[in-house]
């Protein structure tokens, strides 16, 4: 069941000047959250941010009653959300959307770029728990943009590409040698900029493996009321907020 719930600002962990992890706390319990689920946050102290902002759930701690988000600053909402102070309340609607499918996976490749890597902590943890072998492939422009790798290392192998070659292999994720070597994975999960996900989806077809992508989209509500957030699929326009954000890429007509 979806909830609308007040949280209190707990803390930031600033990863670099435009990326931060925001942790919120409640005295109440936190609802069950599945990997891939997202939330809609009302940005406090920002009456000029008219609508809520969707963010994937990065992590949740049911003992501490905390929930956290990995946020990249791209506009006024994400900027203001990075300026909370002690005592600020954040109203959150969650859990929203569907989640990644895990059954039948044995060896998974998780390909992410930018703020797209947010769902991979919960996904990685659940995959690991189910005994799935995990490899993360993280793409970034430069070394400083490769984030959260310590978290990922706890869950599996971590491969990196940077465009400027400052870390890992040089180039885009799609150029990584993991794709040219014998392909050992039976599932790809991907999350990040659209062009990256499309390229990965093509590789998945080539390799003959299943691929799930978590999409971003302009959303007005996040819970199926407005029909603004569609993506074209072979079965017609689908709502990203209720029928996604996770789609099997073979269904997408993007």
């Amino acid at each position: 069941m979806k909830r609308i719930q007040d949280f209190k600002f707990k803390e930031y962990k600033w990863l670099n000047y435009q990326n931060y992890i925001l942790t919120l706390k409640t005295t109440d319990t936190i609802a069950e959250i599945k990997p891939g689920n997202f939330a809609e946050l009302k940005i406090p102290n920002a009456p000029d941010v008219f609508l809520r902002r969707p963010l994937s759930v990065l992590d949740v701690d049911h003992d501490e009653n905390t929930i956290s988000f990995y946020v990249k600053i791209i506009g006024k909402g994400t900027e203001k959300l990075g300026k909370l102070r002690g005592g600020d309340k954040v109203n959150v609607i969650y859990p929203l959307g569907n989640s990644f499918s895990i059954n039948g996976t044995n060896k998974a490749l998780l390909v992410g770029g930018g703020s797209g890597i947010a769902p991979f902590i919960l996904l990685g943890r659940e995959l690991k728990q189910k005994g799935v072998e995990i490899t993360f492939l993280i793409g970034a422009r430069t070394k400083e943009d490769v984030l959260l790798t310590n978290e990922f290392k706890k869950l599996g192998d971590v491969l990196v590409t940077t465009e400027d070659g400052t870390m890992g292999q040089t180039g885009l994720v799609t150029h990584h040698s993991v794709f040219s070597e014998e392909f050992q994975f039976d599932k790809i999960y991907t999350c990040g900029p659209d062009p990256m996900m499309k390229a990965i989806a093509e590789i998945a077809v080539e390799k003959g493996v299943d691929c799930e992508a978590s999409l971003e989209n302009m959303m007005a509500c996040g819970f199926g009321a407005c029909l603004c957030c569609v993506v074209e699929t072979h079965g017609g326009n689908k709502c990203v907020c209720t029928e996604g954000p996770v789609f099997n890429t073979k269904d997408l007509a993007w």
Partner: protein, 304 residues
């Protein structure tokens, strides 16, 4: 106890607070957040004769104190509504009011005829003001003769309360309101979204796939309020007011300007519990101002 009841012919509402078409899905999307039984009514998502895919992505952009949408009446068609959706929502103790759309007068009539058969439905809202479809929609609502023509045809096909939803994109909304009144509309609802657009200066591209879309939200509340006031003074039938109602004070302003019923739209996206809060807020206002019946406030703006 404040008297909250409203009646427009066959349509009896337990209170004047309803939700606007296209902003409340079919109600079910909100059951996790609130008790639908508290609402006066739910104007459900626009229906057409056949399944419609709506417009391509992107369909939404945020603007100062408002938003643009270009959904374009995506829906699975009136039969799907009647057979699959309505059975799930018909037992809520609130009025379900379908929003009727078409590309031609025949379309409108055919959808209406189907809805006329449904016993639990006491009213329809005729949408002649959708700015997001290429054919029909707003084209009917911005010319008086065509507004009259479609209303007249639908009136013949419908026995119960007929509400006609007007477009703000006109020179004189009272003319259209009087026109549809003259051919039997039982109420007018106003207004639908304003035709508008937004551009990304960096990419130089429009933010909507359709270039133009419909503007809703508090940005345009002052224009809508003026239209409600004008129409209230021009027609005898009840006016259903909306546009940018975000809280009880906004709702009361619309009632004072002449609304018998109000609809809450975009605000549902920001706070899915807002409609219930607004009901409570109106009740509080009435108590504080010693108003016995909310109907005493309709058009009660003090102008001297």
């Amino acid at each position: 106890m404040v008297d909250f009841g409203i009646q427009i012919k066959d349509l009896k509402l337990k209170n004047p607070v309803t939700t606007a078409s296209g902003t409340f899905g079919f109600g079910e999307e909100f059951t996790d957040f609130m008790d639908l039984n508290k609402l006066g009514g739910i104007f459900v998502k626009g229906l057409t004769l056949k399944h419609r895919e709506g417009n391509p992505y992107p369909r939404m952009a945020e603007t100062p104190s408002g938003m643009l949408n270009a959904v374009g009446l995506q829906n699975k068609g009136v039969d799907y509504f009647i057979n699959t959706i309505y059975p799930n929502i018909k037992d809520f103790d609130t009025e379900i009011i379908p929003n009727v759309n078409g590309s031609t007068i025949e379309d409108y009539v055919e959808v209406t005829e189907k809805l006329n058969e449904i016993e639990g439905i006491h009213s329809i809202e005729l949408n002649i003001s959708c700015p997001n479809v290429k054919e029909g929609g707003m084209a009917f609502g911005v010319s008086c003769p065509s507004a009259i023509a479609v209303t007249e045809a639908v009136r013949k096909a419908y026995d119960k309360t007929l509400i006609v939803k007007l477009s703000p994109n006109v020179t004189d909304i009272t003319e259209i309101a009087k026109g549809v009144e003259s051919v039997g509309a039982d109420a007018v609802s106003l207004v639908n979204t304003f035709l508008a657009m937004a551009i990304d200066a960096n990419t130089r591209k429009p933010l909507l796939s359709t270039i133009t879309g419909g503007l809703s939200g508090p940005a345009i509340k002052p224009i809508a309020l003026r239209m409600v006031w004008q129409v209230f003074n021009a027609v005898q039938i009840p006016v259903i007011g909306m546009c940018g109602i975000m809280n009880a004070t906004d709702a009361i302003e619309f009632i004072l300007a002449g609304s018998t019923v109000i609809q809450i739209g975009t605000a549902n996206f920001i706070d899915p519990q807002i409609s219930v809060k607004i009901i409570e807020g109106i009740e509080l206002y009435c108590k504080q101002q010693n108003v016995d019946a909310v109907s005493d406030l309709i058009g009660a703006m003090v102008t001297k």
